[in-house]
């Protein structure tokens, strides 16, 4: 659905504020789930919505706006991971808030194994899995975010799930061999 034509600055601001109000939570969530550094998430949130403000005519109306924003946020973070990081003057207060309110989780036991298996996946496979599991997107929605066909998403997701299962099994096997003493009475390994 195309974005409504924006004529005046006031109208433009109102439209932006509506997009921001509806989607800042999910976009911040998306960013925090993909970086261990809350400062980066704050800066990327500012950069993502600054892009939305400047390209407001390109932002789709309705729920599709979120998919568009995920796509921008993904590219902003990709640049951060390549060292193109710039502290945003816009996000100073948000960085301060997140520094106090958010700490990335540290997993132990089984969850640590799952997290490690996930980290071992290539970045592209991590992203397609995360869009499905964390953002709860369907194939068609992931295709919009990644700017590829629905069929390509289906194939990537299938491959990613298989590889994730393999990595998880390998991690569990390694854990068992590292600690053979944890054998329990019925013969299974803990």
């Amino acid at each position: 659905m195309p974005s409504p034509l924006l004529t005046g600055r006031h109208e433009r601001s109102q439209r932006f504020e509506a997009v921001y109000a509806a989607h800042h939570g999910p976009i911040l969530g998306y960013l925090l789930r993909r970086t261990d550094n809350p400062d980066d998430a704050a800066d990327a949130l500012a950069e993502t919505f600054l892009a939305a403000w400047r390209r407001l005519e390109d932002v789709p109306a309705g729920p599709d706006a979120r998919l568009w924003l995920y796509g921008v946020a993904r590219r902003v973070l990709a640049n951060y991971h390549r060292g193109q990081r710039r502290r945003s003057a816009l996000a100073g207060r948000l960085r301060a808030d997140l520094a106090v309110s958010y700490r990335p989780p540290e997993y132990t036991g089984e969850l640590a194994q799952i997290a490690e298996a996930y980290r071992r996946l290539p970045a592209g496979e991590r992203e397609v899995l995360a869009l499905s599991a964390w953002e709860g997107l369907g194939h068609g929605e992931i295709a919009v975010v990644l700017d590829c066909s629905r069929n390509a998403v289906r194939i990537r997701l299938h491959r990613a799930r298989k590889r994730f299962a393999r990595e998880l099994a390998a991690g569990q096997a390694q854990s068992r061999s590292a600690d053979p003493g944890l054998r329990i009475p019925n013969g299974d390994l803990a």
């Binding site: 003057a89 100073g92 948000l94 520094a99 989780p105």
Partner: protein
């Protein structure tokens, strides 16, 4: 996939509540103060941007009537002695590092020398039973003496004090954040970061547009100009370009040399008398993060003949 959902670090609902409502509103407000188009890329003059920004209020602007109702500590940076921020002189006449004074229930702390040892500031705050550290980072000229970052814990709401027209900031327009207001009952801890002038060759930690008043490219137009042309203009101002930013598809990278026939889209202050130019092979800049068709892939940058 159920396993993956178990390691989701944070839910959307949780994320939405990690920042204070005022912080989120301020970010939206500061974004909409920005020009809707990228000035250098689309040729909007800084004067137009300045005018449009001045009409808008910045949500951080503090209602000072409320401020007078409670005992406050006011920290104000006045920049380096004798220093000018944009068109306005902000430097104090004295060379003292820090001074505290009490008037009408407020304590005013003035940073008199942003190049002084931060340990001295920490000691001063400790003497006033405030767990506040102050750090100074090198920033581009128009941000010197402004608040770059406020970090706090303990629940108190430390808010910037703005002085309209004193400087131009990236998001605040002419509402220049020159200090902070701290409730007297503040029992938490906080870190304040102010911008200071960079030393020669020192990289800026925080910057605004290179075209803002007080910055080295103020008043310069680059739209439709090539790298070679802009380098000549900059040479006349004694400004050099140590690095170019070049975006290709999703990837933006910094390179030291690009062809002189490429076009300049934008500029960012880099260090004193140095800027980073955003460049590309096309006359107009592709949209931020826009996917690039394989057929229009730009060539790999090669050394520029214009040096």
């Amino acid at each position: 996939m159920k396993q993956l959902t178990r390691i989701s670090p944070v839910s959307d609902t949780e994320a939405a509540h990690l920042a204070r409502p005022g912080t989120l509103a301020e970010l939206a407000e500061r974004i909409t103060v920005e020009s809707p188009v990228q000035d250098a890329a689309r040729g909007v003059s800084v004067r137009e941007r300045w005018r449009s920004a001045k009409r808008r209020k910045w949500v951080v602007a503090v209602p000072l009537a409320v401020a007078l109702a409670v005992a406050l500590l006011v920290l104000t940076s006045l920049g380096r002695p004798g220093q000018r921020v944009g068109p306005v002189s902000v430097g104090p006449p004295a060379a003292q590092a820090l001074s505290f004074s009490r008037h009408h229930g407020q304590i005013t702390v003035i940073v008199r020398d942003p190049l002084a040892d931060p340990a001295a500031y920490r000691a001063e705050f400790a003497r006033h039973h405030l767990r506040i550290s102050l750090k100074l980072l090198p920033v581009s000229p128009s941000l010197v003496g402004t608040v770059v970052y406020i970090g706090e814990s303990g629940g108190a709401d430390i808010a910037p004090i703005t002085a309209r027209g004193r400087c131009w900031t990236g998001g605040g327009g002419s509402a220049c954040p020159v200090g902070v207001r701290i409730p007297a009952a503040f029992h938490g801890s906080a870190q304040l970061v102010f911008g200071r002038a960079a030393r020669a060759g020192e990289r800026y930690e925080s910057t605004t547009s290179a075209f803002a008043p007080g910055e080295v490219m103020h008043g310069m137009r680059v739209r439709g100009r090539t790298v070679a042309q802009v380098l000549l203009l900059l040479r006349a101002r004694g400004v050099t370009v140590p690095v170019f930013n070049y975006a290709r598809g999703d990837v933006a990278r910094n390179v030291r040399h690009v062809p002189g026939g490429w076009f300049v889209y934008d500029a960012t202050p880099w260090a004193p008398r140095e800027v980073m130019l955003s460049v590309g092979p096309g006359r107009t800049q592709p949209p931020v993060g826009a996917p690039q068709p394989l057929s229009s892939r730009a060539p790999v940058p090669s050394p520029t003949p214009t040096g």
